[in-house]
């Protein structure tokens, strides 16, 4: 049971990290380019 929890937590963290990548890119939004 705990194996499922920890594996899900690991995968869940990396899914959030992947979303963070695209959130950071979206925040850029093409502004400030010189």
């Amino acid at each position: 049971m705990m194996d499922v929890v920890f594996i899900a937590a690991t995968v869940g963290f990396f899914v959030i990290a992947l979303a963070y990548v695209y959130a950071c890119e979206k925040l850029r939004g093409g502004k400030d380019e010189r």
């Binding site: 920890f6 990396f14 925040l27 850029r28």
Partner: protein, 563 residues
């Protein structure tokens, strides 16, 4: 303090100075795809790896692709390590018939080695089989270090390139870092360690007959040397034995101690030269090196002075050797203080003395070093991209002072870059302070695991979360962290401290790489001067001091004042 002690410290720094240029130049050539003396041997291996893994080495990646590749690689390898620990009892190379590792500890340890932290809340020699040590932990020692180097090089490309979209290919950088920068040096280094007495075998543990009770003692064996050199060279720090570099099978002689210290700083120092080389401003690389060296000397001075003056609680006893509690007599005060400073300046975490037994101010130095972001040479790759974040902040502050758009090596630093830099800077204390605070007010699962009450107990908790989030891995000791709460929270802290800081850092690289180079003008703040190095040191210290001073004042500072 003794002249002999200082001569050893200065000699060590001189060695780091000497290796900076050749190693930095070598790495610049490796990551620029230029020819090196190792190409005839490693070139065919590299091409075979790309062929087998179907990697197109010519294809460059945007920062988002680079980050996604790094994340996918990390999650897969972390899960493999988790499963390897869980099923080690049915796998070969388990001469001691060790059972599978507990799920909470497996998660913590998989997070620890994937993030280059190597925090160990267990006794390795009675927990991990030889297979887990070799195929799980040593493998991650290489991969996490190579990932750090790849990320630093990607950031350098972000600064060096102009009006482009891409910052390199993660798989190529990872492969080249492993094959050229890690493996050859580790092969030679491990053999040198074996020559000094570091063990390398797959034998069952020996049993020694003792003349007093208990009548026998188990002496752990194992493939130590092959794991020991990468432990330092890759600033991993996880020991084969619980005593880490205080164990005579890991660190048997003064020479192996010096090799350990040298290995921890070598790549990170070299990367400052690589930065200068790849950006076309060698003086800037040396300015960064100087700032790091100044912070290193300040840290080692305080640590050495604090330990050399002895333990104030034992006033009246003979303490001519200094505060020797928790230290190896063979290393003494100078080499213990130096090791503690170096291992926490970098994100290594190996220890040859117990930091918990340092005096309050002496113990505060390792803690403060991690809190400053481990940018004093720092972890392999992580130290460089960490200090580049502080450089972005420094030139931003300098720009504010003169009322001009800040520039860094010709690239304008704008609002997006500073926002991302602040995300990197803020996630670190937020994680440490929040988790320490929760533990400090939770007697059932937080403070119950401490060996000391009061400020020293707070320092033990604070150190654990700082070490985890900072991906250092050294233990202050004095805390029983192998519990569900600490294994889970420190496991998450290590992931956050690694990946949630890398992502905005790569975002800055991805933004800088698109920009034009602005020609320097009279208003440009030069990043090659002693003034720049001074400002950089000031920003690092002020950001660290402002953030962590309140909690430090409740821990080691108040403990010092209690004497």
């Amino acid at each position: 303090m003794t002249l002999n002690g200082w001569l050893q410290i200065v000699f060590f720094l001189a060695l780091i100075l000497l290796v900076t240029k050749p190693l930095g130049l070598f790495m610049a050539r490796v990551f620029n795809g230029e020819r090196t003396f190792l190409d005839p041997v490693l070139g065919p291996i590299e091409r075979l790896i790309y062929k087998l893994t179907r990697v197109d080495a010519q294809r460059e990646m945007k920062w988002t692709e680079y980050a996604v590749a790094m994340l996918l690689f990390s999650v897969v390898t972390m899960l493999v390590l988790y499963l390897l620990q869980r099923v080690q009892s049915v796998l070969p190379f388990n001469s001691q018939h060790l059972p599978g590792v507990d799920s909470g500890l497996s998660f913590n340890n998989a997070s620890s080695f994937t993030t280059n932290t190597n925090w160990q809340s267990y006794v390795p020699e009675v927990t991990m089989s030889y297979l887990t040590q070799m195929a799980g932990l040593a493998y991650h020692n290489f991969m996490s270090a190579a990932t750090g180097i790849a990320l630093a090089v990607a950031f350098i490309r972000g600064i060096a390139r102009r009006e482009m979209q891409t910052i390199g290919n993660f798989w190529v950088d990872l492969t080249r870092a492993t094959l050229w920068v890690l493996l050859p040096f580790c092969l030679i280094g491990s053999l040198v360690l074996v020559s000094q007495g570091v063990i390398q075998n797959l034998r069952p543990y020996d049993t020694a007959q003792l003349i007093d009770a208990p009548s026998t003692q188990l002496i752990a064996q194992g493939p130590v040397a092959s794991q020991e050199f990468i432990k330092q060279w890759g600033t991993n720090g996880g020991g084969f034995f619980n005593a880490n570099s205080a164990h005579p099978f890991e660190n048997p002689t003064p020479l192996t101690n010096l090799i350990s210290l040298f290995s921890i700083f070598a790549i990170s120092a070299g990367l400052t030269y690589t930065l200068g080389r790849m950006t076309g401003s060698q003086k800037h690389g040396w300015a960064v090196w100087s700032a790091m060296a100044a912070l290193f000397l300040a840290g080692v001075l305080v640590a050495y002075a604090s330990e050399a003056r002895g333990n104030p609680l034992l006033t009246g006893t003979d303490q001519t050797a200094g505060n020797m509690e928790g230290k190896e007599v063979r290393f003494g005060i100078a080499n213990s203080a130096l090791f503690a400073t170096v291992t926490t300046d970098a994100s290594c975490g190996a220890v040859n003395a117990m930091h918990d037994s340092f005096t309050p101010l002496g113990g505060m130095i390792p803690l403060a070093n991690i809190m400053l972001g481990e940018v004093v040479f720092g972890g392999v790759g992580a130290g460089l991209y960490g200090i580049l974040i502080f450089i972005v902040l420094s030139v931003f502050i300098a720009g504010l002072m003169v009322g001009r758009t800040p520039e860094y090596l010709g690239k304008k630093i704008e609002s997006y870059d500073v926002k991302m830099a602040m995300l990197v800077v803020l996630v670190f204390p937020l994680t440490i302070l929040a988790l320490t605070a929760i533990s400090a007010v939770s007697p059932s699962f937080g403070t119950s695991q401490l060996n000391n009450p009061g400020p020293h107990g707070l320092t033990e908790m604070l150190y654990a979360f700082t070490s985890g989030t900072g991906n250092n891995g050294s233990a202050f000791a004095g805390i029983s962290a192998n519990t569900l709460w600490y294994n889970t929270t420190i496991g998450i802290a290590m992931l956050v401290g690694r990946f949630m800081m890398i992502i905005p850092m790569l975002a800055i690289a991805g933004n800088l790489v698109r920009k034009k180079i602005v020609p320097p003008s009279l208003g440009t703040f030069p990043v090659t001067t002693p003034l720049f190095s001074t400002l950089l040191v000031s920003v690092i210290v002020i950001v660290g001091a402002l953030t962590f001073f309140p909690v430090l004042s409740l821990g080691p500072i108040v403990e010092e004042l209690m004497f």
